[in-house]
Symmetry: C2
Subunit: 237 residues, 2 copies
Amino acid sequence: MNGDFESIAGSKRSLHVQVAREIARKILSGQLPQNSVIPSEVDLCEQFGVSRTALREAVKLLTSKGLLKSRPKVGTKVVERAYWNFLDSQLIEWMDGISDNDEFCSQFLGLRNAIEPEACALAARNATVEQRMKLSEIFEQMCDIANADVFDQAKWTSVDTQFHSLIFNSTGNVFYLPFGNILTTMFANFIHHSSTDGSTCIEEHRQIYSAIMAGNSDKARLASSTHLQAVKDKLPI
Amino acid sequence: MNGDFESIAGSKRSLHVQVAREIARKILSGQLPQNSVIPSEVDLCEQFGVSRTALREAVKLLTSKGLLKSRPKVGTKVVERAYWNFLDSQLIEWMDGISDNDEFCSQFLGLRNAIEPEACALAARNATVEQRMKLSEIFEQMCDIANADVFDQAKWTSVDTQFHSLIFNSTGNVFYLPFGNILTTMFANFIHHSSTDGSTCIEEHRQIYSAIMAGNSDKARLASSTHLQAVKDKLPI
DNA sequence: ATAAGCTATTTGGTAATACCAATTTTTGGG
DNA sequence: CCCAAAAATTGGTATTACCAAATAGCTTAT
């Protein structure tokens, strides 16, 4: 029984996910270089102290995220970074502590900058009646939290996440759907809202909300851009 | 031996991927409804004529793409569509023939519209010297193909894919990397270039290329938007 | 020197078994 | 008759052992 095993077996999640996370972090951190061949299945089984089945499931998981590629006889290789699926929520979670947090959040904002204004514009045009009703409901909650005497950070993050996710879900475009989950993951793991966010952001959100409800896509796009610019100004870099 | 088995065993890809594809397509087409519980592992093993291990690997693969979620005793459930990762290349491939092709391409263009202009702008600012050299090389090839006596559609698609992928890789932002693969997958599976594309598009690509090389991000963004508008005008819807 | 074929290695796939956790059913007391 | 505790059932989790397929690199024969 080696140390690696204990640390893995003690945790909660299913075994192969834990093994996958360990390997993923070694890849993401560069400890296992791109194009290098990782140890054979049996070696890794010994190293992690798990069965071959569990390890194989882990390798399959990483293969599906574009981190590994297996071939008989050759072994399992780390594929080039260009093929890693950074738009996978689980992979994003695994990034925790790997790269500089501020830089990572800044890059994510670079993605939001492209996606969200357009998503808001599409939502203004395509949101269903049910989605508009739900958005109203969520916005009401945002107001309540922003106007409360004591600012509840956890609640704000939750509602903020729901607000932006619902917009992605209201675009009527399947390719925008995943961004809701990515945003949720980022908010939950990397982005820490300050206590002043509620009061200052509520007007920006109101602009987005009103434009979408009014079906004014240009105004929605603009309001989203403005909001993201404000978010950017708060970032350390 | 039932029919399902034969059709799967005869194919090329690894077994669990084939099983995963079968199940995925049933989910994507709505044949297995959202939130429904799929048959138990042993039942599915019989149905597909594969071992429990192979089926489990398939389920794991689909879980990682957000299509399924397993819990002991409860069984394996199809999760809601909002959680499906439509930004996964393999999932996109599996969509073939499921939804209306023109509509699907149109929606994809809706994504490109958001992402690519910003990617071009970032690339203009952040591309390394090596990346700029590589982009030059690719653009040269585009010109050659466009100016050739007979238009080679396969070559054009290949080079066009490389051109756009390289731009995503040159943004210096990890969240833009996966779009290169998504675009490659879409070009290979869904988007069919007409023979007139080469001659008409080359000037648009030149605008993008020049702006990036000149480090003019605003011009790059605009050139990309113009190009995508031209692409849109060619779509049937 | 070269091409055909062999061999060892590494992943791919199957089957049997034990285990654990959640739900459902049974059972027994009030 | 009701309710709660305990037992059986069910379905995913994990391990083990074994065989098949693929292939890089060596060997051997021409």
